[in-house]
Each structure stands twice: as C-alpha cells, then as structure tokens.
Symmetry: C2
Subunit: 234 residues, 2 copies
C-alpha cells in the first residue's frame, strides 16, 4: 500500500440533499485517499467552488430543483479545467444516463449503490477511465440501440423508401444536388447537357413526390441517402 505516499485527490460534492452530502463527505474522509475540498447544494455555488479549488473530480447530483445536473456538466466542462464529472442519481433513468454520458460525464452511479462501489467508481474515473456499473451500462445500451433502431426504421420504411426507385444515374444527380450545385454545374460534372440534367431532376421529383430541389435534398437527407458519407462519425 503506497496509499499514504500518493497525493490526495481533490473532490467536490454537489447535491441538493444536505444529509447525503455530508454522508458522502464522511465516507470519503474515512477512506483517507480523498480530500473533500468543498460541498454545495446547488450548481451555481458549486461552480464557484470549482473555480476556487480546481478539484480533480466532482460528484454531481443529477436530480436537483433549479439548475439541473445536465446543465451542470456542460458548465463545468466549459470552465476548461480538466475536472472530471461523476454523475450521481437516485434513479436509473435511461434517458438521463444517455444524455449525461453524451455531454461528457466520466461516470454515472446510483445513490443506492454500496459505498465500496462508489469509491471504486471515483478511483476509476480519477485514473482517466469511464465508469458505468453493469446495470446502468445495460440500460444505456438498450436506449442507445433503441434510438438507432428508430432512426434506421424511419429510413428504411417510409413505405419502401422512395429513394430505392431512383436509377444509378438519378442517384448521381441527386447527390450533386445535395451539394447545392446548379443544373449547369451538374451538367459539367457529369459531362452531359443541361437539359439532360433537367430531365433526370424532373424524374427524381416524380419518384420522390416532391416539387423542388430543396425538398428533394431534404428528402434525401432525412431518408439516409447521405448517411454513408456524411454521418460517418455516428
């Protein structure tokens, strides 16, 4: 155990429940490896304490009255210290977990969890890892997959996706339209005459059941036409 040689990690607690706040502070103090540099019962006060003490980690309650926890995460990360945020909540609400992780929480733990697990979570996060207990990560992934299923379902249904009726050439033309190129430009790119482009475009309108290029482009985007190229990141 070289615990005593290691510098204590600075921890800050934000929770509107004062009892709980004090409880955690006791727990962390007993552990001996942490230095609870401040506690706050709301985000605004918490932010000021963070500016003052620049803690290594903030335990942030998600369910607070005025300013909510999600907003808190955003504002803490805007401070641009590398303060890590461990989200804390009474409920395993999938949506809340998802959004918290999305905006950069390094972990998410339930208040009902054993104190040993809380300690472990804090240590993992301090070591640069991301910690989600199995139960919560399970919830997260259900939600995550659900949202993608809905997205792909929307793209693939819409009564058999009208995009599939387009010919090869029409797809090429549509792709250029989605880059905001004029008839003349498309004609030059594809080495065909402007009127040919117009013919293709008109056929595209027919097939997609729209009346102008903007609507065609919007249809293409909303129905996954570009997803392979544009949305690569996600």
């Amino acid at each position: 155990m070289r615990r005593e040689f290691k510098k204590k990690s600075k921890v800050l607690l934000i929770d509107d429940n004062y009892e709980h706040l004090v409880g955690i502070r006791e727990l962390l103090n007993l552990e001996g490896t942490f230095d609870v540099v401040g506690i706050a019962t709301n985000v605004s006060v918490g932010l000021n304490l963070i500016k003052k003490y620049q803690p290594d980690i903030v335990l942030l309650d998600m369910n607070m009255p005025d300013k909510d926890g999600l907003q808190g995460i955003i504002e803490i990360s805007k401070l641009d210290f590398d303060t890590k945020v461990l989200a804390l909540s009474g409920y395993d609400d999938a949506d809340l977990i998802f959004r918290a992780m999305k905006i950069g929480a390094k972990g998410y733990v339930l208040k009902t969890m054993a104190s040993a697990q809380l300690i472990y979570a804090i240590e993992e996060v301090l070591n640069g890892k991301i910690y989600l207990p199995l139960a919560l990560s399970s919830r997260f992934f259900e939600y995550f997959q659900q949202s993608f299923r809905e997205e792909t379902a929307k793209q693939e249904s819409t009564e058999e996706n009208l995009l599939s009726y387009l010919t090869q050439r029409e797809e090429e033309v549509l792709e250029l339209l989605t880059q905001g190129i004029t008839y003349k430009g498309v004609a030059n790119k594809l080495f065909i005459s402007e009127t040919t482009v117009k013919t293709h475009v008109n056929n595209i309108f027919q097939k997609l059941q729209v009346n102008d290029r903007t609507q065609a482009v919007l249809y293409a985007i909303n129905n996954g036409f570009l997803s392979k190229k544009v949305k690569l990141a996600v």
Copy 2:
C-alpha cells in the same frame, strides 16, 4: 440448482478460426446448459444454419476475411428471428465495438477473456440483457464521447458559426426554408409580403456566404441549426 430442469439454450458459433470454434464448443458443452446446434467458419454458412436451427444466441467473430462481422450482425437481424448476437473479437478496437453495438449486438467479448466471463456474458445476453465487460464499455464510452465532442466542436467553431449572425427574424425565415417552403409560402406563414421575405433571404445568403437556398439549407443542417428540433432522439 435447477439447471437440469431448464431447457438448454441453443447456441451457434461463427468464427473463421476452426481451432477456436471447436474450443468454444467444448467449453459450452462442458458447461451443460448450452446446446451448440452448429458451427460455421463464415457468415454465409452461418446464416443458413441460423435459418435451420433458429438458435437463441449466435457468437459471431468480428474479424473474418470475406464478409465481415458487422455485415453479419445486420444480416442476422434481417432474418427477424429474435436471435441475439454476441460479438466476439481478438481486439478491443473502439470503432468496431461502437459500430457493433450500434447495429444491435447484444454484447461484445474478447477472445482473451476468461472462459467464466464468456459463459457469464452468454447468460446475461440470453436473459435479455446487454453485456459489455467494463474494459470494453470504457473504450466504447471514450469513443462515444469523442464523436460527440467533434460534432459539437464542428458546430460551434467553423469560425464562429455564421448562423449566430442571423437575426431572430432571419432565423425564422431560414427555418421555413429548411422545410422546403417557397417565398410565397413563407410570406403567408409570417404574415409579411413576399418581397420582405426576399430581402430577409438575401441577407441570410450574405451572412452565410452562400448563393442559393439549397446551400443555405445545407449550411443550416450541417451547422446544428436544426439539431435542437430534429435530432432530439440523439
């Protein structure tokens, strides 16, 4: 132990490494609660076996030569049995994990993991849960957060996002443009004359540095103008 009363779960294995395939089959047979109904060294054969035996779960290797694992997941889910897929891989490649989970894998385990953990993973998935070992879920989340950081960074930068220069009214007009509405339509919706709309639109073009409505709409979409309303799910 009411293990012997429970119906054995049907398992199918797909892995281009035959040694490994047999190894896992042995392991699962020894366990006694699983019935390995088939093994395959490529996705095509595997798909046929799935159609024949309708297994409860498929262990699918991600790193295979011809048809890759991701495609395999998609094709299995297209079969529309509720066969669960547990992805199996030699490497903890974040991108691969992310994409596998995105398209519906119920879990992801490394080949280097202890057999007890593999068994546990299979059982969790069979129980309808999603299983990602802590190390992998950590990797996943880093990648996940990274992709969102890039997205918001792109939206907020682009040299101070030209969208921020738009006035309230101009934003309203632009929003209607992104719905594929004509000048006349916008004029009616906002109770102003058509020429006023044109003036606004021209100012929008100036500010966004584009020459036509399609480009303006594309700019808006690519720079997060609609993200609050459209991308709610994510």
